[in-house]
């Protein structure tokens, strides 16, 4: 099988990135998933249940909104793909719906997940409540302190939130703890990874579940503009799940510019950044080979971003391949630029975006847009969860 942007090879590689670098203790579970995910996803009753839940529970299709005032300001046509209007307030639920249906077909009864800002944790707790499954969410001890409202939401939804107290006590350590839980519970448990990271088949599987974003976008653009293709698709990237979904059906349309925006933190070269493609080297974390922020000795560096959802030292292997092959354009926005842009979008369009999403908006004026350009910005989540941060800057 040949690697394409939409499909990794049989071993899960996009170019040199991907694979399944896992200890033997995970082999059976990961192999089971790898052997079955495509078959299950193509079963008619799976598709019907997935699509019905996306429509009636998540509220899809999400609107593609023509942002007139931003368009005027930037001198191009700007469309916002409103993933913030999904149930639970972000795109994360597209993936958790898909994975919980898959987990049930694999006969699993116990769900584990990792979360950083808590959005994926909430989306996982939500689908577990919906399907009556046990839910354990690992969250860094530091993030539990920083993201109290989402911790409360998860608990209210019936999930157990377990603090990750190892290492740096943030997202990467929560992921380590979730993987260890899976090693210790190999029979009844499915691990719902929240981004396009982890061992094969996770990056491909999560990208496929999120690809509904670009599938709808194509259709909606056709209706609104008479052409399916935008000139640019812009999305923020931490691990990269909303970007993978927003890019997916445009990956092989070479004339569409795919713009990924990373978190520069205090600035790319300040030592307080999460701009993985700028700062990372090829390496292995959480079961796949990708670009990774690390020391010269190969120890993983703790990143920094004001946005907990972009605060990850790696990036999905698909994105590493888009970067390396230059299919994608990788830019970054600082904490300050993201904040300013969050306030600006709120006042200009009446939409308070998540801090993650604000990074995507922050680079629009650097794209040198022309009046004929049609730009789709993936508005991945709403900003309610970030109010505590926003309130400090009002």
């Amino acid at each position: 099988m040949v690697t394409t942007y939409q499909q990794p090879d049989a071993q899960g590689y996009y170019g040199q990135f991907g694979g399944a670098y896992i200890p033997e203790m995970l082999h059976r579970n990961v192999a089971e998933l790898r052997e079955q995910y495509l078959t299950i996803m193509q079963e008619p009753d799976f598709k019907a249940e997935f699509e019905a839940l996306l429509k009636d529970y998540v509220g899809r299709p999400t609107p593609l909104f023509h942002a007139e005032r931003l368009s005027e300001e930037l001198g191009a046509t700007i469309f916002l793909k409103r993933e913030d209007l999904c149930h639970t307030g972000a795109h994360k639920i597209n993936n958790t719906i898909g994975q919980i249906l898959l987990a049930r077909r694999l006969g699993k009864t116990r769900i584990i997940a990792e979360t950083g800002a808590g959005q994926h944790g909430v989306a996982t707790a939500t689908v577990c409540a919906l399907k009556g499954m046990q839910c354990i969410v690992y969250m860094g001890e530091k993030d539990i302190e920083r993201q109290a409202p989402n911790v409360a939401r998860m608990k209210m939804l019936g999930a157990t939130v377990v603090p990750a107290i190892s290492g740096s006590k943030t997202l990467k350590d929560a992921t380590n703890e979730a993987i260890r839980d899976w090693i210790n519970n190999p029979h009844d448990t499915h691990y719902i990874i929240g981004s396009v990271v982890g061992p094969h088949p996770y990056p491909d599987m999560v990208a496929r579940f999120q690809s509904v974003i670009s599938k709808e976008t194509r259709q909606q653009l056709l209706e609104k503009t008479g052409t399916e293709l935008p000139t640019h698709v812009v999305a923020c990237v931490g691990g990269g799940s909303n970007a993978a979904g927003a890019f997916y059906h445009f990956l092989d349309e070479k004339e569409v510019k795919l713009v990924a925006v990373e978190a520069a933190g205090h600035g790319v070269h300040t030592g307080m950044s999460a701009a993985t493609t700028q700062l990372g080297k090829p390496g292995i974390l959480h079961g796949s080979k990708s670009l990774l922020m690390q020391t010269a000795d190969g120890q993983v560096i703790e990143p920094h971003s004001i946005s907990a959802g972009l605060d990850y030292p790696g990036i999905g292997p698909l994105h590493a391949y888009l970067f390396e092959s230059r299919r994608g354009v990788f830019l970054s926005a600082t904490d300050e630029e993201a904040l300013a842009s969050a306030f600006h979008v709120s006042k200009t369009e009446g939409i308070i975006p998540a801090l993650e999403t604000a990074h995507a908006f922050a680079i629009l004026d650097k794209l040198n847009l022309k009046s004929t350009d049609r730009v789709v910005v993936c508005l991945s989540g709403r900003g309610d969860k970030d109010l505590a941060t926003y309130m400090q800057h009002l």
Partner: protein, 256 residues
Amino acid sequence: MSRIQQLFHRKKQRVLNVYCTAGYPKLQDTLEVILALEQNGADLIELGMPYSDPLADGPVIQASSTIALQNGMSIEVLFEQLKELRLKTNIPVILMGYMNPVLQYGFERFCKEAAAVGVDGLILPDLPEYEYETIYGSIIKNNALDFIFLVTPETSEGRIRKLDTLSSGFLYAVSSSATTGNDKDFTPVESYLQRLKDMSLRNPVLVGFGIKDKASFETAGKYTNGAIIGSAYIKALEHSADIRATTKQFLQQVLQ
């Protein structure tokens, strides 16, 4: 015959492999720990190269890795320390670690330098067999290092055979589906060890994970060639004022 193969040629039962973390408890303790283990009855040393994100390890070994990294341990420092290894001891030494630091060091350079300081084998739990067969296995073999794969109670018979074929030195039987240092009951493990015994594998088998005392060491020894102790020894070292005395006491309660 490699040092590891010679060991199993000479000793077929009750082989004791002890894990320790390089640069723990203090940066300069690596060799002293190895020598103390040898002098008190260990047959084989599994020397852990600390990593920030050790997926297969439990809290005890991860905590020792964190301390070792804070102490300044790295592959470079380790190889410098190990230059004196073969002047002082002939005990087989296996390096255990995760792929990322090794890749950054340069895989081939790592194997060459490991062999040059007298290391005998490698355990890299997150090196999958596909990548071993297509890329890394030949580099390991060219440097005359043994490579030890892990099997678990979940590993199918066909896969155990395959990993046994790819391994040299011995096969590492993870006692249960767990990370290191767990307290799971050891009894159900026995049927799995019996199954391994009945397979008459090519390589000797050592049991690891959950081995912490005389009882679990003896149980493992009934079915296999011996066992690996890790977390229990690291715990003992944690509050040790005297590495030699602690090691002597620890190994006495396992071996006698």
